[in-house]
């Protein structure tokens, strides 16, 4: 966690690294750790289903990034709106804890959240909505935030985007409007340093912090996987969002898996670096007995859900 970074030229390698990689993790309730482990198990199960030729189309897993939405959920309220993107399974599961409905949606089976029409990238349930075009949800979230500001003051619209999303003009049109109109908009950037196959350094001049600063929007950089610390560090800024001070929170994070499936062109060293930053072994080392117990429960749950959904009739 750090104060707003200065708007200067820098590549991802310059981002401050987690000083406390070996420092003790803050206390995390079972429920939150289970949520992270469930998302990990879900994404792993999806890749397995793909390998067995049982999934139609494509999917984008969030392996390595599971802690981001789980951390955020601790700061969000039921009345808040959440907008997600192509890599949204973790966002959905952290919000709704519904692996069954999500897998049914991805597989087009009975019980699908959106009848199998939307699939992995287009999901809507209550105040959660995802869509598959980069940056598209930011202006929409501004509209929802405008509605909330007038009718439900104190509620906010939270949008998950990636570092690659910052290539889209819609992002800047929306940041400008959110800042001008004092909208309760929270933009969560999962900066995993790579947009499909293109590294950040080849995609982005300047920085995300600099781009937020250009619109007089607050920026926070999060460079830890410690969920309790993340929540503590962001609490005040998220409360300010509710009063109409838009915020960009940039997570320096890592994508463990490929962009979609079998399309990882990263070097072995890059992948090794991503694995070294993974939250999973750190939380495992912090409390091995509890971790193993909760992980076994999560895996068994997802295995049971998978067996159930695979056997269902079409949606």
């Amino acid at each position: 966690m750090s104060a707003p970074a200065p708007p200067r030229e820098r590549s991802r390698d310059d981002l401050p690294h987690d000083e406390g990689a070996h420092a003790p993790l803050g206390e995390l309730p079972d429920e939150d750790l289970s949520s992270m482990l469930t998302i990990r198990a879900f994404e792993s199960a999806l890749l397995d289903l793909f390998d067995r030729g049982m999934l139609n189309g494509t999917t984008h897993t969030c392996l390595g990034q599971e802690y981001v939405p789980v951390a955020l959920e601790g700061l969000l309220a039921a009345g808040d709106h959440v907008f997600s993107n192509h890599r949204g399974h973790g966002h959905y599961l952290a919000r709704h804890r519904d692996p069954e409905g999500l897998l049914a949606e991805i597989m087009g089976r009975r019980g699908a959240v959106c009848g199998g029409v939307g699939g992995s990238q287009h999901i809507r349930r209550d105040r959660y909505l995802s869509t598959g075009v980069q940056g598209e949800s930011l202006p929409v979230a501004c509209g929802v935030a405008l509605h909330l500001k007038r009718t439900e003051p104190g509620a906010l619209a939270c949008v998950y985007v990636g570092d690659g999303t910052f290539g889209e003009g819609a992002v800047y049109e929306a940041l400008n409007i959110a800042s001008l109109w004092d909208l309760p908009l929270l933009v969560v950037v999962e900066n995993n340093g790579i947009a499909q196959s293109t590294p950040l350094a080849a995609n982005m001049a300047g920085s995300i912090a600099g781009r937020a600063a250009a619109f007089a929007v607050e920026h926070r950089l999060v460079d830890t996987v410690d969920v309790a610390a993340i929540r503590r560090g962001l609490d005040a800024a998220v409360r300010a969002v509710r009063q109409g001070r838009p915020l960009v929170v940039e997570f320096a994070t890592h994508r463990l898996g490929p962009h979609s499936k079998g399309d990882d062109t990263r070097s072995a060293m890059d992948i090794a670096q991503a694995r070294a930053a993974d939250w999973y072994p750190r939380y495992a080392a912090a409390d091995p007995e509890r971790f193993a117990r909760l992980d076994a429960v999560a895996r068994a749950h997802i295995a049971a859900v998978t067996a159930d959904v695979v056997a269902r009739e079409l949606s």
């Binding site: 699908a112 809507r124 202006p139 509209g143 935030a145 819609a170 409007i177 109109w181």
Partner: protein, 324 residues
Amino acid sequence: MRVAENLNAALHGLLEREPDLYVLGEDVMDPYGGAFKITRGLSDRFPGRVLSTPISENAITGVAAGLALAGDGAIVEMMFGDFAALAFDQLVNFAAKSVSMYGERVPMRMVLRCPVGGGRGYGPTHSQSLQKHFLGVPGLALYEASPFHDHAEVLAEMLQRAEPCVLFEDKVLYTRPMYEVEPPFALRAADGGGTAQVSLPGADPDCVVVAGGGVAHRVLEAMRSLLVEEEIVCTLLVPSRIYPVDLELPDVRQVFVVEEGTAGGTWGAEVAHVVHQRHWSRLDGPVTLVHSADSVVPTAAHLEREVLVSAADVHRTIREKLRG
């Protein structure tokens, strides 16, 4: 009352009746009241719900979609319809798809108002008729402003559809009076998105001309000259909702479709397809399309005249078809 005043009154009425309705657009607030003054007086009367925006057509349309998603209604003014190209993603990929892509019908009450058409010397990027670019999008209904439809009813119908709609407003209409048809022709106006009809009372028509509201006066001028010079009797049909196409045709053997859009992939082709499917057996031949040339819309008046469809084009095409 002129068409611009009718549109303005319609917006006043809707904002008054619907407390959750917003109007968004560039320079729409008072005292400016929009580039064509259609939003005049709204922001003074309904502060907080009529908002001038940055020059961000894509985001404005997205904001409208967000309002609609949250249960509000939203009307967006594109300063010039040409700029709707910048909003294509939000309108087509998000707003229209949202109606059905989440597995259950999601009501989306939003309207994009697009001033279109040439004849005013604004040049290639401010004079297009963009109707054809928005045809055939699931969940997107298209309407065209007309001097024969009350836009209070039209806009109310568009919002009631609970799916995104585009209202194309031919700029030359703004200064035209409402409901004006000179004798011997008579107008039968229509409700909401229905079809208005202008015909010669007591006479069986030789042909039907289907036209959007923007070219209705050009067709009426041709109908008059065809009657006087050729004794050809035409009936004009002006639908308010232009897509999906739904037309009831009188029993005629010749049908023409007139629009200002340029050649290629036209609205008329879509109308012709529907007419052929429904009425092929009774027609003398295919529906005849009358439209502007395959060209950008030039700025200089003499060049613009060469490109845009005119009353003379309509007269010549109908005479040649019926008289050989």
